[in-house]
């Protein structure tokens, strides 16, 4: 029983110490460790590594679900089709735009919210914390509907409320144009996910040593100087983790776009393109290739973050 639940990777673990030196106790501890942690690892690999391998395999075929008999091996031609199609590049651009805008705004806004929460009187802090958790807990689909209905030309209140702003009138159709649609999508995303960033930043703020702040204050440093020289450097780890996770999350944007525009007006994201190829058009081969490309893009972003910003995730995430 015990051997069957052990994941295969256990065998590839380098044996660090010679067996003779390893005590029985350490040996049994090691065995128990794998016995307990193994099932979780196996499940994680099964639900992700296996499907992605399958996607890589499927992406090499010309394969329509409606026409399964005509499945034929076409090598990398699916990738050629996608990479030479402007739809792919457009969805990549849209995704990049949404990611950049939302993450930048969320970082600034999230930091401001974290500062207020850190300074707030202890009596109202629980209220703030509860309020800020609500957008995090509300499902993305509900948030997308709320924002869509608010800006909608029929049901919305935005046009009548902001009629005094130049360019906005009762006839402003926010979902009739690429840029205004993207703006509303970004607003919904920002509202929904800023709480996550600000909670991480609040935890980071709490780790800035109070002594350093006081010392800088005594030395006559201004608020801005203290922020730049004391607060921010000490929060680097928290900021990096928040930035990395939000960037990867934003890059997978799907729900809001599905609800608000359904990909119309050139608002299709990469995830949406993959969804449309597979689920709507049943082009398993092409859809798989888009999925693989999306996966590679996410890996690329993660790698460049970790290399570029020298984020040591094992340290920031406290892997002791």
């Amino acid at each position: 029983m015990s051997t069957t639940t052990l994941p295969p990777s256990e065998k590839t673990q380098p044996v660090s110490a010679p067996d003779a030196k390893t005590s029985d106790r350490a040996k049994s501890e090691r065995k128990l460790g794998w016995l307990l942690a193994g099932p979780a690892l196996v499940v994680m690999l099964m639900v992700t590594a296996y499907p992605i391998a399958q996607a890589v395999y499927d992406s090499l075929f010309d394969f329509r679900l409606t026409d399964p008999d005509n499945r034929s091996f076409t090598g990398l031609s699916n990738y050629g089709v996608i990479l030479s199609d402007w739809l792919w590049w457009r969805s990549l651009l849209v995704t990049g735009f949404i990611t950049l805008v939302t993450v930048a705004v969320e970082l600034v806004l999230g930091f401001a919210l974290a500062m207020v929460m850190a300074k707030a009187l202890s009596t109202i802090r629980p209220v703030l914390r509860a309020a800020i958790l609500i957008p995090y807990a509300v499902i993305t689909v509900v948030s997308a509907f709320a924002w869509q209905f608010a800006f909608d030309i029929q049901t919305g209140f935005v046009n009548s409320w902001f009629g005094w702003v130049p360019g906005i009138s009762a006839e402003t159709d926010w979902f009739g144009d690429t840029w205004t649609s993207l703006l509303v999508i970004c607003l919904a995303e920002i509202w929904k996910t800023t709480p996550f960033i600000s909670l991480l930043l609040l935890a980071g703020l709490a780790q800035v040593p109070e002594v350093l702040q006081e010392a800088a204050k005594v030395d006559g440093a201004s608020w801005w100087q203290r922020m730049r020289k004391v607060t921010l450097p000490n929060m680097k780890a928290a900021i990096m983790v928040a930035l990395l996770f939000r960037t990867l999350d934003a890059f997978r944007v799907f729900d809001s776009i599905f609800i608000m525009t359904g990909g119309a007006n050139a608002t299709e994201s990469v995830s949406f393109l993959a969804y449309r190829q597979t689920i709507s058009r049943l082009e398993i081969g092409l859809g798989s290739a888009v999925s693989v490309l999306l996966f590679l893009a996410v890996v690329f972003i993660a790698m460049s973050f970790i290399k570029g910003f020298k984020v040591d995730l094992s340290q920031t995430r406290g892997d002791a």
């Binding site: 673990q13 460790g33 639900v47 703030l128 499902i139 509907f145 980071g204 997978r252």
Partner: protein, 277 residues
């Protein structure tokens, strides 16, 4: 802090509350609008009506909404239970035992957490159709584990690391058996962490849209977010806005209740797992 400064932070606090609750207030208001009032451009419903709620709970749209609600609850609870159980064992091993491969497990959890969901959906869609898991509960529970398991492992190992494990030995010295020491000392200490993790995992499963919309096709397994996304009202000719708003309010109630009850723990869980570890 001077009085002026205090007032300033107070105003900022009110702004935060407004920011967080405004879209919710709007969807609640919308859910109480009569069809004739939907397009009047006002924020408040004027003369509130519960028409929309009766439409989705007992009326023409209830056979779309109620099965979805049942699916969501069932699937999310089962996925949460499985991932918490697996994560509990893994986190115990990570926090407590010394074995090679610990970093590998945490690293895998991290990699799975950043995985683009849609990349998994494409192959699963095809596979599930072939083996009969398409549009079934297990067909969603299994992929939900890819969402809930990584964060459960991270959050729980963060909690478990803070447990003073020496207390267990102390209890044993005092004459308790290993099992007694574990049950009477460690389990009560670990319970809050497990519970918090369960709430966060449940939120994440409850929020899923991509799996729900891609791997189901009927009321047999379609969860609420997907049902909402495809909702077209009681009839094709009716504007579903009010019904969607009412359904949105209903699915938001459980998460808001959880947030209000356990906010302190949820914040601790989210930030522990991510920043402190």
């Amino acid at each position: 802090m001077s009085g002026k400064e205090k007032a300033w932070w107070g105003v900022a606090g009110v702004a935060i509350v407004l920011y967080a609750l405004f879209p919710i207030a709007w969807i609640v208001s919308l859910s109480f609008k009569a069809p004739s009032a939907l397009n009047n451009g006002n924020f408040l419903p004027g003369s509130p009506t519960t028409e929309n709620y009766s439409l989705i709970l007992t009326g023409g749209a209830s056979d779309l909404f109620l099965p979805a609600l049942r699916n969501s609850f069932g699937i999310c609870l089962i996925a949460t239970a499985i991932s918490c159980l697996l994560a509990m064992f893994a986190a115990y091993a990570i926090a407590r035992l010394d074995f090679p491969g610990k970093k590998f497990i945490l690293g895998t959890a991290l990699a799975v957490a950043i995985f683009p969901v849609i990349s998994i959906v494409t192959p699963l869609f095809n596979l599930w159709r072939n083996i009969g898991l398409y549009d079934t509960w297990p067909g969603l529970i299994i992929p939900y584990l890819s969402l809930t398991l990584p964060i459960s492992i991270w959050t729980m190992s963060a909690f478990f690391r803070e447990i003073p494990w020496e207390m267990e030995q102390a209890a044993q010295v005092d004459g308790a058996t290993t099992w007694q020491a574990f049950r009477k000392v460690i389990v009560p200490l670990a319970a809050p962490g497990v519970f918090t993790t369960a709430i966060i995992a449940f939120f994440i499963a409850w929020n899923d849209f991509v799996y729900g919309i891609s791997l189901t096709s009927t009321e047999a397994a379609r969860p609420v977010p997907a049902a909402l996304g495809l909702f077209s009202g009681a009839s094709q000719f009716e504007d579903p806005t009010g019904a969607i708003a009412a359904a949105a309010v209903i699915v938001t109630i459980p998460v808001v209740v959880l947030v209000l009850l356990f906010q302190r723990r949820i914040v601790a869980g989210l930030t522990n797992g991510a920043v402190k570890g």
